[in-house]
Amino acid sequence: MSKSHIIEVEHLVKKYANLAAVNDVTFSVEPGEIFGLLGPNGAGKTTTINILCTLSKPTSGKALINGFDIVRQQGQVRQCIGLVFQDPSLDERLTALENLDFHSRVYNIPASLRAERTEQVLKMVEPWERRRDVVKTFSGGMKRRLELARGLLHHPRVLFLDEPTLGLDPQTRNRLWEFILGLQKTEGTTIFLTTHYMDEAEYADRIAVMDYGQLIALDSPEVLKGMVGGDMISLSTTDDQKAQTELKERYNIQPEYDDGQISFEIADGSRFIPTLIKGLKTEILSISLRRPTLDDVFLKLTGHRLRDEAVRSEFKEIVRQMGRHQRRR
């Protein structure tokens, strides 16, 4: 294994009963890189992160973080990582400050830096005035922001962000990304990110796409988009069913259908549109042309759209919080 990789994963497997949540995954991450792990719900992203951050033991395979083995050198691994979990992990009985204080102490942030760092992260994500309130009284988004603040507090070498911006408003997401990118630039922090938001995935230097526990693609966003080739045309018609059959039979095109939109890729889109408008028997209601996005890549590779996944994740979050409320009663 070469020394220059900050994360090094080889043939990683994690089995639950007879389900292989992570199924023979191999990849490596460079220091200072933003590495995005994308995949539909249940693909094995969180499981991968849990193994890398020593919360869960791999069934087989090997992984190193900063040169330390995640099974045999857990102490050293924990020393150099930071995490924002997908699921809530705050002590809701304590105040925001107390939660951050606990974190500063267990991560050994020098006393001289503690106050300054705490203020810095809190001011970025939180109404600073609420720092002395018990977390239980926070809204869901505020809790999420506090969780992010906590993950950024100790400036780790490698920062794992598991769907960090789930349920956040756009302003907070932007501010958060500014901070993360700043951290990456000034401290050389490596970012390991899972997300269902396309615009966030675009920040990544490289993206791995995971499905059913396996990596099905790994490259820079540009190269991945290149996989789709050509341009993307989306159209809606009076009879989408018929239009799709026509596309297949007349133009030998394999269209995808999703959410009332027929879409397909084509080499020279702007020339094809007039042909299509003249030729298609079914009446066209709207038509648009665009360069391929990561969303298209994702759809092509996994059969889902990223956007749906984001919606689905948010829905999952809501359901989970409802369940929690009921349990607490």
């Binding site: 809530p88 002590d91 107390e98």
Partner: protein
Amino acid sequence: MNNLWGIYTIWYRDLLRFWRDKARMVTSLAFPLLFLVVFGSGLSGSMGMLAPGVNFSKFIFPGIIGMTVLITSFMSGVSVVWDREFGFLKEVLVAPISRVAVAAGKTLGGATIALIQGTLILVFAPLFGVTFPLKILPQLLPVMFLVACALSAMGIFLGSRIKSMEAHQAVMQLLMFPMIFLSGVFFPVNNLPLWMNVLVKINPVTYGVDSIRQLVLGAEPAAALGITIFGHTMSIAEDLMIVAAFGVLMVVLAMWSFGSQE
């Protein structure tokens, strides 16, 4: 050094939570205080003397202290289950402090809370007509703390093994009541039927209660009520050795359990 800091941080958080949760403080005192009322002033007149100079109220008071410490220590494990349920356990497990320190901090946190609760019983006791010589406090508090540590370690160990709230509650009840009733809190443990005698003597709580009782009543009257094993009456030191041995075993188990947490 790092580990000490870690232990302190874990301990401090548990105390902070305890302090925030005044309701828990009060409700967990209600049960022992009720016993004090019923047995202390109410019943004791009708029960006669258990040993020279020891009426039932005097007899049961040290037992109630022991019981308070036992219940509170034992329940400290619930904080682990609770942390798992609410996700905070992940924050702790992924932190760069050793798992040994986590287990130690949790045990000490639980024991400190139990000591506070036990001390509150001591404070309230005079209100219910129960008195004890103040000069024993310098010995009594450390003894209570030792018992609390041993039982907290057990609570923390169980809490780290049992993953669901419901199962934890069931196990606690299943264990706690026999451990209270078969420990000499409510009745002298000499002259018991054989099966009960065996259970009482393998119950580590028995020795904790006995040591507290010997301290509070004085060695003389307590000896008449004390535990005899193969004709030998246990001294405070011997009691405490058994409690400490049990405590060490439990601490080791708790540390191992945290070390292997997924």
